[in-house]
Symmetry: D2
Subunit: 393 residues, 4 copies
């Protein structure tokens, strides 16, 4: 065993509330574990469910006092902002159409928001939230959790240091298979809402996983996506939202790319991979082996970079907890977003600025992803015509 | 060691000539080795080079008698068709723009042709050759060699047996890095002609490797490509032909796909991979590990099928020479095309029909690939508009 | 995203103390994170360091009240066992030679012990501890954390269900490279004590990682190791403890195996892999890809089993937190040992029996590993003579 | 496509005979293909089978004239050595116990021998053959074909150049599964003789594949094996020869290693892998991906070296036929041994010395492997006592 990276210092845990995420909900459990890993949060309040019995039972299971188990987010925002020991942040882990309301309420109550992606079900809502954040100076953290993986920090730093030279091509894919058949008919609550335009918004796979792909490309490469040519398809009979998305990409400055998002691709569990090719080298990464990053300097042998291993850069070791060869996973990457949120909340609490190197996704990343969805929908509706994310060139 | 598959029987070797492929040429050497592996050909004549000294020296090296070392393909076609022991087949391994002339000459001389891909430099030439073949009943073998890999035969048979159910999505890519910089300026003859529109035709990477990708998709899936939306790019400054191609695919019957071909992708040596997703399962294959085929029946664990291993199907073992675990490679796959060409030539010689299971690519596959190139060029010229391979719907 | 496995229910967190693990210590941090992941512990006391300033600073960082930051484990055992809100368990994360003292003290104080491996520096100490546990009925959890990986639970269940038939061969290796050079001279505290016989005991790599390998073999196969033929080497000049171990294994019932442990194997970060071969099939696993398990039923294609994926068995999903394809890592596997410790402590608290399926390693596993070390040392000292773990046959 | 390595020059093919290898025999077919790939041999004579009808039919299939299809190797040696156009080399591809007789006969007739491994069924025979070769100055090539793989040449060159520093540890394994059940009862001729002490000699798996492992270790590392501690087992009931071998290794100079050979390891088709660890770096290779070689300079990221790719060394590209990324396989590696045999035969024919860089295995390698077998048998018979390959120290 070798020495671990230090992430020490004395911190007072942040008091956290949660909207959604009652018993049995997948993503709520993920947020709670992620908030605990670095011991920077205490879950003290929640509006875990609109079903009041489930809300109570959830609170009991999660160790939240009964009086702080609210039946609505409005009540929670009101009550908690009035308490001297009220929550210092809220996590919103509801389906897409229920991000906007709570986010607005807590921002208006002056409470920092940690929100699931995609930002909202509609681009207009996203823009309104953005305006609120800008006007209020509130803190908004979007859990595009894959940006928390150390090797994605490493990749970002390497691209910025121009180790690949100018970027030419980006190939990104996010493939899953859990909607290959009609999971929405077999009692999966998550499948139900994700294929329902009332709840998920106008995009299916594109909103759920395509936005992760888009976000990670932006995070790692720093490139601005200018336009898309998209071919969105719902393969499963009767499904109203896309379950397979083919998108060609054109970036400002001339780089090009392809994005494939699919939830009907047998054999892919969470098959998210990113490859970036530049004039002088390339990087490749696959989410299911998150501790590895392939790096090829053009004309030299491929190298397998490892988290905290030889060649690790500062931005990567900074968010790494244990030695190389001891795999960190999805929850640790997610926890890094939470830790950085805590750093930011603590900095505000103490009147300090956010520590350098903090890289959590923000409201602006969320709006950008909504523009991406919107452009893809418009392109696909026009027979894959190249469509700009922004009307002004 | 376990027992090998039998490919026995008594065969009289086919007398073979070659056009191009003089000393030092990569692909000529490949064809010669491929022709020898199963002992079905004897190289007895050649027009190896327009440079007469090089032609002579090549003949000496290849064991071809001096009098059958010709200085032009026209002379060779004339002389060999007049000899009682004249060649029974000719391999054409010249640059693209020099396929048409020799192919026409030998077909008109009644000599079977084994030709490198892409079929020709221009679609019109391809159509003219096709007409000649159809009119003459001549034999024409196109060396889309990747169809010779046993696991691609296996994949084709599995798709045909509907083990994947109806195909929905096809993801194919063929990425290399050897043109990342201006190899055409550093003395590589192959690089020179491949980026020269006079010699390669109007397509660069698309013609060289994109056609392999298209051909293999057709071979494995049996799907008919209906239309493409293509974004072809020449990234390297001053290059006149595409070196990176992004193409979205729509197949008859509703399947969709993406094709990426690139010769500016650092880290890829010969990175040709094919993935096919259907309603009930999926297949994945990578050319650099050609003895493996991933198969996922939906809802079951992934399986790693191996050449000649458990689960191997008849069409695969038929073209396999040695036991599983003893890797066959690129040359053996290529040799299978040659062996099947010999089977066909021998069948004609003896007045028999071609053996069932013979699957070498033909003039029609070559024409189809030229239509694919043509449609991509037209699409890319019209800002990636969806473009049909055939004008008639 | 698909639904997660449930691990719910209302639990009162266990009050935890820690011996060792002050600021900057690798394994202490791992234990703290592992104890938090499932929200089943609260760290409330500690004897973090014999250096009192460091002990205080550590307590502050870890959120432990100053009055419960003790300067010795003896004091801590005394004080905590006297408090009504005293600790309900203690984690011992000191170097090997400092396991025995604290473990004895806390067991005698009636406080359950969670202890790092190897159990002790000397076999005699291990046997004495075992006697204490047996006499007192105390709870003792040994953190052979790799048994917490879901795929190791899966493997164990599959072997027990005789999916491999009778086991014939076990190949296990645990290779690292961090002691390739004299890390003990360059300020690594961990390297220093691990190569010091006073602190580590008579075994170096064998104690540190060889015991993990031995333990995991026992856990997965259920086989009893009867004898060893060992060749232990210290390759690095001046090193007093083995840094490379070759061991042949003979199990009761006739199975055989090989074990390789090394800390001088460049390229291995934490290269722990286990392969088990039986009459009817085989399993293979590598710690650096812990979510995967290869399974080959003899005569059928290899299958890649995934955590929570198709083919997952109950014992595996039971200790899995998130869906397949979302990698869990080292910390989650470690956390499972902690969760099971909490289950056991809670069961005792409530007068219940330990939940079925709880599989944490115990004092007996620790003693068995000490016997393994002892037999290897004796064998190696006698020129690798086959040596029994127990004298009585 | 990039340019290939040149292996040109004008060569007169070597006239080759074969002993054994009649229709349907696996290894005979391999030798014939290997002899053809580089166009350096013509098969013109054979004693393909003791069954005369099969011998004739084989000759017809292989294109050998009827008068040169002999019914015994004695007759063939006599007749061919008397012909002016007699064979210039003979390949011996019979079962082990039938190597000695033909090898002796052809050596005494002054005809170079290319022989399958293991050299003989008994060490005494091997020593006698060695004496004959030494006395006669005859040419003897042993087809330890794995030394023909380009990446093994690369590895040898890197070790010799001290890129790993002094070697400390060698881990080699050769695992197959084809004898997991009683294949010898189900009509496999190969299985039958390989488990029959009358034909295979006193070693089963050890002779068939263990010798390959030993040979490759010697070839790559240049180390001299001094002693072994072996535990040989026949797991399958009723089998008289070992099917699983565990061997610990001690080399001159202090390096140590482990060797595992098994033919009862489900999931391994031809799982031959070699790993070498030195003071400054390590190499790893697996036969089923023969075009790859992992190289880790200690303290730097792992590198994936590829055949003919960046970092390829002269000894590797010298025996490589096609560009990187275009996989060469088992047959090409085998063909390299044949090509080098042809180089040596041609050099003798022309009174030249063998070209530098020629590295085919010789009679001495064969004798050394027989010593290895013998030492392992003696060790295993003495409860795995450390046993020297040579009695004199």
């Amino acid at each position: 065993m070798v020495s671990a990276s230090a992430n020490g210092g004395v911190h007072m845990p942040v008091r956290l509330g949660m909207v959604g995420g009652g018993q049995g909900a997948f993503i709520g459990a993920v947020h709670r574990i992620a908030s605990r890993i670095d011991d920077r949060f205490r879950l003290v309040a929640g509006a875990f469910s609109s079903d009041s019995a489930r809300a109570k039972a959830s609170a009991a299971e999660f160790g939240v006092e009964e009086e702080r188990a609210y039946s609505s987010y409005e009540e929670m925002a009101r009550a908690e902002s009035a308490r001297p020991d009220g929550i210092e942040a809220v996590s919103i882990v509801t389906p897409n159409h229920l991000h906007f309301g709570p986010a607005k309420a807590f921002l208006e109550a002056g409470i920092p928001v940690i929100c699931e992606k995609p930002l909202t079900a509609r681009l207009e809502d996203a823009l309104e939230l953005q305006a609120i954040v800008q006007a209020s100076g509130g803190l908004f953290v979007l859990t595009h959790n894959y940006t928390g993986y150390p090797m994605m920090r490493q990749a970002r730093e390497m691209v910025a240091a121009r180790e690949l030279g100018q970027i030419r091509v980006v190939q990104v894919e996010y493939a899953q298979d859990w909607l290959t058949e009609r999971a929405e008919d077999s009692g999966s609550r998550q499948a139900e809402w994700r294929v329902d335009p009332q709840k998920a918004g106008a995009a299916g796979a594109l909103g759920d996983i395509g936005t992760h792909a888009f976000n990670l490309v932006s995070f790692v490469t720093g490139l601005t996506l200018e336009s898309v040519a998209a071919d969105l398809t719902a393969f499963v009979p009767g499904r109203r939202l896309d379950d397979n998305d083919h998108v060609m990409l054109r970036f400002a400055g001339g780089a090009k790319g392809m994005l494939w998002a699919s939830q009907v691709a047998p054999g892919h569990e969470n098959g998210f991979s990113l490859r970036v090719y530049g004039e002088r080298g390339a990087l490749g990464w696959h989410q299911e082996q998150p501790n590895h990053l392939w790096f090829t300097p053009f004309g030299e042998p491929k190298r397998l970079l490892t988290r905290n291993g030889p060649g690790a850069r500062a931005s990567s070791t900074r968010v790494s907890r244990i030695p190389s060869g001891h795999p960190e996973g999805y929850l640790e990457g997610f926890a890094t977003i939470y830790r950085e949120a805590a750093d930011a909340i603590e900095a505000r609490r103490n009147g300090n600025s956010i520590p350098p190197g903090t890289l959590f996704p923000t409201i602006d990343d969320g709006v950008e992803a909504m523009r991406f969805i919107d452009a893809c929908l418009r392109s696909s509706a026009q027979d894959s015509r190249w469509t700009r994310l922004r009307s002004d060139p």
